[in-house]
């Protein structure tokens, strides 16, 4: 690609399309006379245009043309917001992420009243635990006391029985 491609492209195209005014066309041709590269670029563009013109273009069947014409209408952006457009899809994806981030970064801080209420609730819970502990404690004490009493009673009975038998043996 030569250095004139960018600089002269518009003017060359306009010249070939017949859109350049006569004055501008003459000016361009005059410049090309002194500049071989510019002249070469104009010739190349001219040859390319002719080659393109020479290409025979088959006309598509009417049914296909009709279908092709409907495509832009089907994909035309709906009025307002199209949620399927990538930018909107990205924006909608960002909203839940932002909500999650806010929730994670800003945990609910309870008020002094809520903490006082929680303290009271905790005391109630502990009171019920204590109550259950007292009931079971009494039951354990009672069971142990009965067991000990039974054990003592059995031991005493055995001692008395042994003592009686021993006394009888001595008498015999």
């Amino acid at each position: 690609m030569n250095k004139y491609d960018d600089k002269w492209e518009d003017r060359i195209n306009a010249l070939l399309d017949g859109e350049l005014s006569d004055t501008d066309a003459e000016a361009l041709k005059a410049e090309a006379t002194d500049d071989r590269e510019l002249a070469g670029a104009i010739v190349e563009a001219y040859q390319l245009q002719r080659a393109m013109d020479a290409v025979h273009v088959e006309r598509a069947p009417a049914s296909l043309r009709k279908r092709l014409r409907t495509i832009p209408r089907k994909h035309r952006a709906a009025s307002g917001i199209n949620l399927f457009q990538p930018r909107w899809a990205m924006a909608l994806t960002a909203i839940p992420l932002a909500i999650i981030a806010v929730n994670l970064m800003q945990p609910d801080t309870p008020s002094a009243d809520e903490i006082a209420k929680a303290r009271q609730q905790l005391a109630i819970a502990f009171a019920y635990l204590d109550k259950a502990g007292s009931i079971t404690g009494r039951e354990i004490e009672s069971t142990i006391a009965h067991t000990m009493a039974d054990a003592l009673r059995g031991s005493v009975n055995r001692t008395i029985k042994f003592s009686n038998e021993h006394t009888k043996e001595k008498e015999v």
């Binding site: 399927f84 809520e114 502990f126 502990g133 039951e139």
Partner: protein
């Protein structure tokens, strides 16, 4: 059409996400190993007369607030991850509560809880279960059913019952429960 469905889906998703904190707070306790499902007796006895659900976050705040006055209490509370209490008035009809008591007892047995104390009197049933792992307490469950009330307490985390008495004084809350 597709746009309408997409809009509804996104709206639903955003609403669901906005309610996440409340759901998460409830699930915070359910996912812990010391959690116990006591079921719901409200269809039989009406709404519980006392219902308490304290999560780890709130307990941390209570622990922090107690640290200045009573480090001992603060220390005890800091080891708790959740405290749940459900108390129903059985109103001289404790049969349904007893059935639930036995159901929960079965669930506890089958899920690795250890019985600590059980009292089976004609007019009163008391049960204390603990869940231990590697020598650490993961939870404690206390159930009491009598003619007056059905009490279900679930403590999640570590708790030394022997320290309860000391800590209750420092909480400075007047709680008077009638002992039978």
């Amino acid at each position: 059409m597709k746009r309408t469905i997409m809009t509804k889906l996104m709206t639903g998703l955003i609403c669901a996400l906005l309610s996440l904190p409340a759901i998460a707070q409830e699930d915070e306790l359910k996912d812990l190993p010391g959690y116990v499902d006591f079921g719901d007796l409200s269809s039989l006895y009406g709404e519980p007369k006392i219902i308490i659900n304290l999560g780890g976050t709130m307990l941390n705040f209570v622990s922090m607030m107690s640290s200045a006055n009573s480090p001992e209490t603060s220390e005890l509370i800091s080891k708790l991850k959740g405290v749940r209490v459900q108390i129903y008035s059985t109103d001289k009809n404790p049969d349904a509560a007893r059935a639930q008591f036995n159901k929960v007892k079965g669930d506890l047995k089958s899920s690795g809880w250890e019985p600590i104390v059980q009292v089976n009197e004609e007019d009163q049933q008391v049960l204390i279960y603990m869940k231990m792992k590697d020598g650490n307490m993961e939870g404690m469950t206390v159930m009491v059913v009598d003619d007056e009330e059905a009490v279900f307490v679930n403590v999640i985390g570590q708790l030394n019952p022997a320290e309860l008495g000391k800590v209750m004084d420092s909480l400075d809350v007047d709680v008077d429960l009638d002992l039978p």
